[in-house]
C-alpha cells in the first residue's frame, strides 16, 4: 500500500489513543480494508484520501461517542473517579515504590545469601583463607556446613518474598489499569 495511505492510518491510530488498543486496531483494520477495496476498484491514493476525508475528523467521529457517553453526569461516576484517583495517588506514593524497591532487593539477597554460604563452606573445607570470609557468620552456628544450609534456606525464602513482591506489583498495576478502563476515564 502507498505510503500516504499508511500515514493516514497512522494518524488515525494516533488520534484514537484514548481508546483501548484492541478497539484501535480493529478500527484501523476496517478502514484499511476499505482502502484496499477502493484500490481494487482502480481508485488512486489521492482519490481514496479525498473520499475518506481528514483523518483527524475521522478519529474525532469515533471519539465523539465516547465523550458524549462519558460526560453524562452521575454522582456514582464522580465518586468512582475520586476513589480511583485517591487510590492511584496513594499507590503512586507508597505501594508502587515500596514493591518496586523490595522486589529486586529481596531477589538479590536471595541469590547473595547462598553464595556467601558457599564461599564460607569452601573456605572452611579447603582452608583457603579467603579474605573477609571469617566475617560471614550466623550467630549460634559454628559448623560451616550448617551455615551453608541455613544460607540456602534463608536465600530461598528471601527470593520467594522478592518474587511475591514482584507478582504483587504487576498484579496491582494491572488491576489499577483495569479499573481505569472500566471507568473509561
Amino acid at each position: 500500500m502507498e505510503k500516504v495511505l499508511n500515514n493516514y492510518l497512522e494518524v488515525i491510530e494516533r488520534y484514537l489513543k484514548p481508546l483501548p488498543v484492541s478497539e484501535r486496531v480493529d478500527i484501523v483494520k476496517e478502514i484499511k480494508s476499505e482502502m484496499l477495496e477502493l484500490q481494487q476498484n482502480g481508485k488512486t491514493a489521492e482519490e481514496i484520501m479525498e473520499r475518506l476525508g481528514n483523518p483527524k475528523e475521522m478519529a474525532k467521529a469515533y471519539l465523539g461517542d465516547l465523550i458524549v457517553k462519558g460526560s453524562s453526569f452521575s454522582w456514582n461516576r464522580i465518586l468512582a473517579i475520586c476513589a480511583y484517583y485517591s487510590l492511584a495517588g496513594l499507590s503512586g506514593m507508597i505501594v508502587i515504590p515500596v514493591l518496586a524497591v523490595c522486589a529486586p532487593v529481596f531477589i538479590f539477597c536471595g541469590v547473595a545469601a547462598p553464595v556467601m554460604g558457599a564461599v564460607k563452606l569452601i573456605d572452611a573445607l579447603l582452608h583457603l583463607g579467603i579474605p573477609y570470609a571469617q566475617y560471614i557468620v550466623v550467630s549460634g552456628i559454628k559448623n560451616p556446613m550448617l551455615i551453608f544450609l541455613f544460607c540456602l534456606i534463608t536465600g530461598a525464602a528471601l527470593a520467594a518474598v522478592g518474587y511475591g513482591c514482584w507478582k504483587l506489583l504487576v498484579h496491582y498495576i494491572k488491576g489499577m489499569s483495569k479499573v481505569k478502563h472500566n471507568l473509561s476515564l
Partner: protein, 110 residues
C-alpha cells in the same frame, strides 16, 4: 430557505434505521453499506459518519461483527449481522416510523 440543514437532521435521525434495515436483509460490510446509501442522495453519508455509527450499534449489541476473508486479491471484510436485540429494536423503530408517516399523512389531510 435552508433545506440542507433540515435534510441533515432527517438523515441523522434515519440513518440508524436504514443501516439496520440493510443489515437485516443480509450481513454486510461497511464499504458495501456506504455504497448502497450513496445511491440515495438523501441518505448518502461519508465513512466518518457510518463507521462510528456501526461501532455504536455494535457496542449496544444491536448488531454483531466478524472478520471474513474474501476472494483472492481482496482484503478481509468486517461483516455485520443482526442480533436478536437488534431485531427487537428494529421492530420497535418500524412501529414508530409507521406512526410518523401516518401522522404526517393525516396532518396533510390527504
Amino acid at each position: 430557505m435552508n433545506i440542507d440543514d433540515w435534510k441533515t437532521q432527517i438523515k441523522r435521525g434515519t440513518l440508524e434505521f436504514c443501516i439496520l434495515l440493510m443489515i437485516k436483509q443480509k450481513p454486510s460490510y461497511g464499504y458495501e453499506i456506504i455504497n448502497t446509501l450513496e445511491e440515495y442522495p438523501i441518505l448518502a453519508a461519508k465513512e466518518n459518519t457510518i463507521y462510528p455509527l456501526l461501532r455504536r450499534l455494535l457496542k449496544e449489541e444491536y448488531i454483531s461483527s466478524s472478520w471474513q476473508d474474501s476472494a483472492e486479491g481482496l482484503p478481509p471484510r468486517k461483516y455485520y449481522s443482526m442480533t436478536d436485540k437488534g431485531l427487537d429494536y428494529l421492530v420497535a423503530m418500524s412501529v414508530e416510523w409507521d406512526n410518523l408517516l401516518c401522522a404526517i399523512d393525516k396532518i396533510k389531510g390527504e
